[in-house]
């Protein structure tokens, strides 16, 4: 059942067994896993079925660290969460990702990959991926695409599957019926938690206070509470809930909001291959005949990373295009032409046919050039851009904190101070150097490195960006002095409060977060079901 929270009478109190705050990948996975159980479940969405500007503003806050995306649009605050905007890249974490590494402070997970393997398989099924299909050799054999023959002692090829088409990534769409039809699950839209209240010991959640924009305020009383609102909102809600625990819930050791992790990526250099067919190798993106899409990367082998004592860095090769080709492909005429072709292929009559044709003809030079170069692959030029993506060192100074400014519902906003470490930059530089030496040794070409390791963690290439991956702000550790949640994702010192989502990741890892978010949510669901039985 889906209910608009704005229709709840002001001041009402609702009872539930399990309340899930947040309806993104984690929240919807949990709710689906609880479907059909004997306990009642309440799923809360901070927005409507689609993102809207007035609800997105609730996410807003300043960035004071490295350049970053506007927080307002980092997360989709709606049913389905940020899967609404997700790029669909899936790649699991490796065994090595889970290991503690003595050269990386605070690395390692309290769980190993084997502890989550069965849930990972289930996650692959949910995401409709080719299950267990992560070996580049298998993909190379299936696709006829080649791996770059680098020294296998140094580099490994890593394959990510990309969920395609994009409509298959939107949890709010594809799982809406499941959630709506689950008799024991009630979803409230536009229902924002503004405070998590506890008993006077501060150890048990007793009530969730909710508010709707221009609407009622009401209360939910849960037996079990699962915070699944994302890597910025999870710490925010814990920190603002300071009525009893003055530093915020789970924050007795000043860890909530610290260790904010992203996957920094930036243009690290250019690979000049000897043979022009490097673009036809596995390092796509490629859409295969069966519709599966993949993208591949280079990463150091665990042995090499250990010997070099560096953090994990992945390199992606991107084809570069002739500037004339880029210009013509981005032209209005070609884009209108392309849309017309797509609509005709789909058996539809192109919208505004007359004006579309006029636009195409008025820009016919660009349309002709882009069509010709696309058809005959003339747009490609030899060099390939190397983009580095770093699995950064956990850094307590990289953090989310509350500021005095409040949102429309009266909740204090967060400020993001994203920071990296000199070790991150040193590692990225070293990996590009090793790649350059490896391609030279293999006779594949030469590399021009596009950045220096100046020892500064503050200055990065201007292309630095994140991946919209918000991790680490309620990190997992068996030691309450090192983590906010335990290995079962329960908040240390709390009896009935769990956290789901990538905020529990103690390290970012070489994989992509969403699949791991779903994996951990399935594991948590299993745990909660046992407790509720």
């Amino acid at each position: 059942m889906l209910i608009d929270g704005r229709t709840i009478p002001n001041g009402q109190t609702l009872q539930t067994d399990v309340c899930i705050i947040g309806s993104g990948a984690a929240g919807i996975t949990l709710a689906r896993a609880f479907s059909g159980q004997s306990f009642t479940v309440t799923l809360l969405a901070g927005g409507d079925l689609k993102p809207a500007p007035e609800t997105q503003t609730l996410n807003a806050g300043p960035n004071v660290g490295l350049p970053y995306f506007a927080l307002e649009y980092c997360r989709a605050r709606c049913f389905g969460g940020t899967t609404t905007w997700w790029g669909g890249h899936c790649r699991p974490l490796s065994d090595f990702d889970f290991e503690a590494k003595d050269w990386i402070p605070r690395s390692g997970w309290p769980i190993a990959r084997k502890d989550i393997q069965s849930f990972r398989t289930e996650a692959e099924e949910i995401l409709n991926l080719r299950m267990g299909h992560w070996d580049p050799k298998t993909w190379a054999a299936d696709s006829g695409l080649k791996e770059l023959p680098l020294d296998p002692q140094l580099f490994e090829t890593r394959v990510a599957q990309i969920i395609s088409p994009s409509s298959q990534r939107r949890f709010g769409t594809i799982f809406r019926k499941d959630i709506e039809s689950a008799a024991n699950v009630t979803t409230y839209l536009n229902a924002n938690v503004v405070e998590i209240d506890t008993d006077e010991t501060g150890q048990t959640v007793t009530a969730l206070k909710l508010a709707c924009i221009d609407g009622p305020r009401f209360t939910i009383v849960p037996k079990v509470c699962i915070l699944a609102a994302g890597g910025l909102e999870n710490p925010r809600l814990l920190l603002v809930s300071d009525r009893v625990q003055k530093a915020g819930l789970g924050n007795q050791h000043d860890l909530v909001g610290r260790f904010f992790l992203e996957h920094p990526r930036f243009e690290a250099g250019t690979f000049y291959p000897v043979n022009s067919d490097a673009g036809e190798m596995l390092y796509g993106p490629h859409k295969l005949l069966d519709g599966t899409a993949i993208k591949s990367y280079f990463g150091l082998t665990p042995g090499c990373a250990r010997a070099e004592e560096i953090v994990d860095v992945q390199l992606r090769m991107e084809r570069l295009y002739d500037p004339a080709y880029k210009r013509s492909r981005n032209s209005v005429g070609f884009n209108v032409f392309r849309r017309m072709v797509q609509q005709i292929k789909a058996g539809e009559v192109p919208e505004s046919l007359g004006s579309s044709i006029a636009t195409v003809f008025s820009d016919i030079d660009n349309v002709a050039l882009a069509t010709y170069m696309t058809a005959f692959k003339k747009g490609l030029i030899g060099p390939m851009r190397l983009t580095a993506r770093v699995d950064p060192t956990p850094n307590p100074d990289s953090r989310v904190t509350l500021i005095d400014q409040r949102d429309e519902l009266g909740v204090r906003r967060v400020q993001l101070d994203w920071r990296l470490t000199p070790q991150d930059k040193r590692s990225a530089r070293r990996v590009v150097e090793l790649f350059a030496q490896a391609v030279g040794k293999s006779g594949l070409g030469r590399v021009h490195i596009g950045f220096e390791d100046d020892g500064s963690a503050a200055q990065w290439p201007p292309s630095l960006a994140g991946g919209y991956h918000h991790m680490g702000t309620t990190r997992m550790s068996d030691d309450p002095k090192q983590g906010v949640v335990d290995r079962d994702c329960r908040v240390h010192g709390m009896s009935n409060l769990w956290v789901a989502g990538s905020s529990v990741f103690p390290t970012a890892g070489s994989g992509t977060p969403t699949m791991m978010i779903i994996t951990l949510a399935l594991r948590l669901a299993e745990d909660v079901k046992k407790r509720m039985a």
């Binding site: 060099p383 150097e433 030496q437 030279g440 040794k441 030469r446 590399v447 021009h448 490195i449």
Partner: protein, 128 residues
């Protein structure tokens, strides 16, 4: 006027001439059978010596002890006799480049990661 892209392409051609067999044949000025003095034979491998000069100058600023044409020719020719055909020079350099990468004898100059032999060839071009 050379754009940064064309300059990079020239540099690449220079480097590939020394290191990449597949490309080398396309960038060598000609496969003249005549035997030339060593320096001419070595430099004859380069199709765009201009593109090599910046890199060569950078190498010499880091290794000033090698800033002598005769010394560089000796290092590159490895005791070869006084005359050499361009094909022989090319083969000699290609082997040396391969050995450099195998042995980890690489240098980084202006962002390029190249073999020491390639760097020395560029240095020779910068002095010529």
């Amino acid at each position: 006027m050379a754009t940064p892209t064309t300059t990079r392409r020239r540099v690449l051609n220079v480097l590939m001439a020394a290191g990449g067999a597949a490309v080398a044949s396309s960038v060598i000025a000609s496969a003249a059978p005549d035997r030339l003095p060593l320096q001419a034979a070595l430099l004859g491998v380069l199709s765009h010596p201009d593109g090599a000069r910046n890199i060569g100058a950078r190498y010499l600023s880091l290794v000033p002890a090698e800033g002598d044409e005769r010394h560089l020719v000796n290092l590159l020719a490895k005791g070869a006799p006084g005359l050499m055909a361009r094909d022989e020079a090319r083969a000699l350099l290609q082997n040396a480049v391969r050995e450099d990468f195998d042995q980890g004898r690489t240098v980084e100059l202006n962002g390029w990661v190249i073999s020491r032999t390639e760097a020395r060839l560029c240095a020779l071009a910068s002095l010529a």
